[in-house]
């Protein structure tokens, strides 16, 4: 029981050092479902997929102590997302070669190790990941927009409905629909860049 607060404090402290306490929560919110979806698409049973999620999250949370807050090496978020991907791709590659059950050190090594070969797994995972990060970001920014603005974006950009019809339905000019959908998309992209650590988080 004694290690609970320690883990918690060290993690919080590290995140604080990185000046970014939301990073971990946001990371987990995006990464866990992505890993799960990937595992299921690879044919893993629900329970095994959950195990994999846990394994990845635990390894990554433990690895946070080893993060070097050197600005030259990129942001904490970028590092977090990179090592998680490394781990997952390497883990998947190992699964393919021999059954699971290797030691902790193996997992730790996979964190920093670049995947040996970028195969079908990495492509599959990247798609799952993109799916998650997009839906996550869409949820995150939705409340920032007026209902009509959001609807204009969703119906035209996501559902691919004709602009003119959507404009009539929403009582907007077509020009306003163009502006609305672009504005939402720009914000969406900006939010994804921020969560992945490519741009500093000015907002939120």
């Amino acid at each position: 029981m004694a290690e609970i607060p320690n883990t918690r404090f060290s993690l919080l402290a590290r995140l604080r050092e990185g000046g970014d306490e939301c990073a971990w929560t946001e990371f987990v919110g995006i990464y866990e479902p992505a890993v799960y979806g990937f595992a299921r698409k690879k044919g893993l049973q629900d329970a095994d997929a959950r195990d994999l999620c846990q394994e990845v999250m635990r390894a990554v949370s433990q690895a946070i102590d080893g993060w070097d807050p050197d600005p030259c090496k990129g942001t904490f978020r970028a590092w977090l997302f990179r090592i998680a991907r490394n781990l997952l791709i390497n883990l998947a590659a190992r699964e393919g070669r021999h059954p699971r059950g290797s030691g902790e050190s193996d997992v730790q090594r996979m964190l920093e190790q670049q995947p040996a070969a970028e195969g079908a797994d990495s492509a599959l995972f990247d798609v799952e990941y993109r799916r998650q990060v997009f839906s996550w970001a869409a949820e995150a920014i939705r409340d920032e927009f007026a209902v009509a603005t959001w609807a204009a974006f969703w119906r035209t950009a996501v559902e691919d409905q004709p602009i003119a019809g959507v404009a009539t339905a929403l009582g907007l000019s077509t020009g306003a629909v163009y502006i609305a959908r672009s504005r939402v998309l720009a914000r969406l992209r900006q939010r994804i860049d921020a969560v992945e650590g490519r741009t500093p988080l000015f907002e939120n």
Binding site: A2, T7, G29, D143, D160, R183, L185
Partner: protein, 534 residues
């Protein structure tokens, strides 16, 4: 063409895209975009480029985020926005909907699906432990709230066990000021518990809307919350997450109902063990909780103090920009004095809150019922000042401290007195008895001789006198040695009694005059004893 080029302005496109343009500029651009395909393309490229537009289409079309209004996450029962973690706040709808897969389809209109016998009608919110659903119970024809253990925990044996244990314990608490739990299903694929659907709002919402409350309201809500806590504590249940969001005010009657007993944190514990992430707001935690120590029912009393503080001032007592800083303040800091923020709060209430906020659980009130009684008495006095007397002044820490300190001094004084008496009697015994001794010795000289020395034939009484005197002296020497050692022992005791006090308190703390005086007398007696003995 000329017209188009004068109106095409990339800078303005960018401004509008970032929402920084005026309404007029925006509607002008909207009009322009309807004619100018070139600017439309530019705008879309600036927004994202074709791959992003493609991603949006392929990745978001499989996600169910309704294009309509986001739908207020209004909580009638339990979890409000306050209790959501940042990630949950950021991404509610889609995550919940994805997680509703466990519901069995239902033909009832407006039903999202069925869980057991209940028709799920709405998603109310999400807390650390899972989803909160609004449901209809057809058998009893009433609305209920259902807490479902989140899918990510439903497969975790530890989380399930804790959920079951806490839910059953919570169901055993039946009290006016606790949200009743109707049913617990902890064995199914998705563990859940069914509780009364309370219509009303949380204390958090009330504080957000109206800021600090009236004194009578503070006392009424505080008293009822304390009474609810007392009922739970009597069952051995610790809430561990007392905060305004978990204190519901039932509509019209505004009856206080505590909800979420032990549940949120039960799962949080598991979550923290695994991911090291602290879920929920730590603002109302107790120091022992914040430091990760074992907690008992007194953790709820600290949190109750924070809730009272929030009602008095409109804000939580330990605030900081980051979670870590909040935890640190809870452990080390003192909240800003209540009366500085709201001078209308009487001293005695600030004192009650101060006592609930003692860092050491042993220094707080020891039971919730004690607090409930005290608040009730104050409320009664406030309402009927003529017939109900104001409760006595709180025996705060300073008073207790001074009491324990004076007890210590009583001990020191007593020890010194004992020494004084012993020394004094020894001196008396030692000084005067020379003659008496001789007389006594003379009286029972024979007997003493027969005891102390072998009878010497032919020896007269005169020859015996020096011997008996020597015997008396040697006995007083023994006594003095004994006294001396006793004296030293007592001095050591006195010193030991003083030491811990000195170590704890400031090194320059003054020693009371009475003790100094006693010490002085002790020393003089001591030296007198020594000189007499010589």
């Amino acid at each position: 063409m000329v017209v188009r080029f004068t109106r095409c302005d990339r800078r303005r496109l960018k401004e509008v895209l970032q929402g920084g343009a005026t309404d007029r500029a925006e509607s002008e651009l909207a009009g322009h975009l309807e004619e100018c395909e070139h600017c439309r393309r530019d705008l879309e490229m600036m927004a994202g480029g074709p791959e992003v537009w493609g991603d949006v289409r392929s990745f978001l079309s499989s996600v169910d985020i309704p294009p309509g209004p986001p739908g207020p996450v209004h909580s009638e029962t339990t979890t409000t926005r306050d209790s959501l973690t940042s990630s949950e706040q950021a991404a509610p709808g889609a995550v919940w909907r994805r997680q509703l897969g466990f519901l069995t389809p239902s033909e009832v209109p407006d039903s999202l699906g069925r869980l057991g016998a209940y028709e799920i009608t709405d998603v109310i919110g999400r807390g650390g432990m899972g989803i909160v659903l609004k449901a209809f119970d057809p058998a009893l024809n009433r609305h209920v709230a259902i807490k479902v253990l989140a899918a990510e925990w439903a497969h975790n044996a530890t989380a399930r066990r804790r959920f079951a244990r806490e839910a059953k314990a919570a169901a055993a608490v039946v009290h006016d000021h606790v949200v009743p739990i109707h049913y617990v299903d902890a064995a199914g694929e998705v563990p859940y518990l069914v509780m009364a659907c309370i219509s009303g709002h949380s204390l958090q919402e009330r504080l957000d809307q109206s800021g600090p409350l009236e004194l009578k309201e503070i006392l009424r809500i505080g008293m009822q919350a304390a009474a609810g806590l007392a009922a739970a504590h009597a069952q051995g249940l610790v809430h561990r997450d007392i905060k305004p969001a978990n204190i519901l005010l039932e509509n019209s009657v505004e009856r206080v109902r505590i909800t979420d007993f032990g549940l949120a944190r039960a799962v949080d514990d598991v979550s923290q063990t695994q991911s090291g992430v602290l879920a929920g707001t730590p603002q109302y935690m107790s120091p022992e909780q914040a430091a990760g120590y074992a907690v008992d029912h007194r953790t709820d009393l600290f949190s109750l103090g924070s809730v009272l503080y929030a009602m008095c001032t409109g804000r939580s007592p330990f605030r900081a920009e980051t979670a870590v800083a909040v935890l640190r303040r809870i452990c080390d800091g003192r909240p800003h004095p209540i009366r500085d923020i709201n001078p209308e709060i009487p001293d005695w209430l600030a004192e009650i809150i101060g006592k609930l906020h003692e860092k050491n659980p042993a220094d707080r009130f020891q039971t919730a019922s004690e607090v409930a009684d005290l608040l009730e008495q104050h409320l009664a006095h406030l309402q009927q000042p003529q017939s109900v007397p104001r409760p006595g002044k709180l025996r705060g820490r300073s008073f207790l401290r001074s009491l324990t300190r004076s007890r210590k001094w009583i001990g020191v004084g007593a020890a010194a007195l004992v020494i004084a008496v012993i020394v004094f009697s020894a001196v008396i015994n030692d000084r005067k008895p020379a003659k008496e001794n001789q007389e006594r010795q003379a009286d029972d000289g024979q007997a003493s001789n027969s005891v102390n020395e072998p009878p010497v034939p032919d020896s007269g009484s005169r020859s015996q006198t020096p011997d008996t005197t020597r015997a008396a002296t040697s006995r007083s020497e023994v006594d003095r040695d004994l006294l001396d050692s006793q004296l030293q022992e007592l001095r050591r005791d006195v010193l030991q009694m003083e030491l811990p006090r000195r170590r704890r308190e400031s090194p320059v703390s003054a020693t009371p005059a009475a003790v100094l005086e006693m010490d002085r007398q002790l020393r003089s007696l001591e030296s007198e004893l020594k000189s007499t003995a010589r």
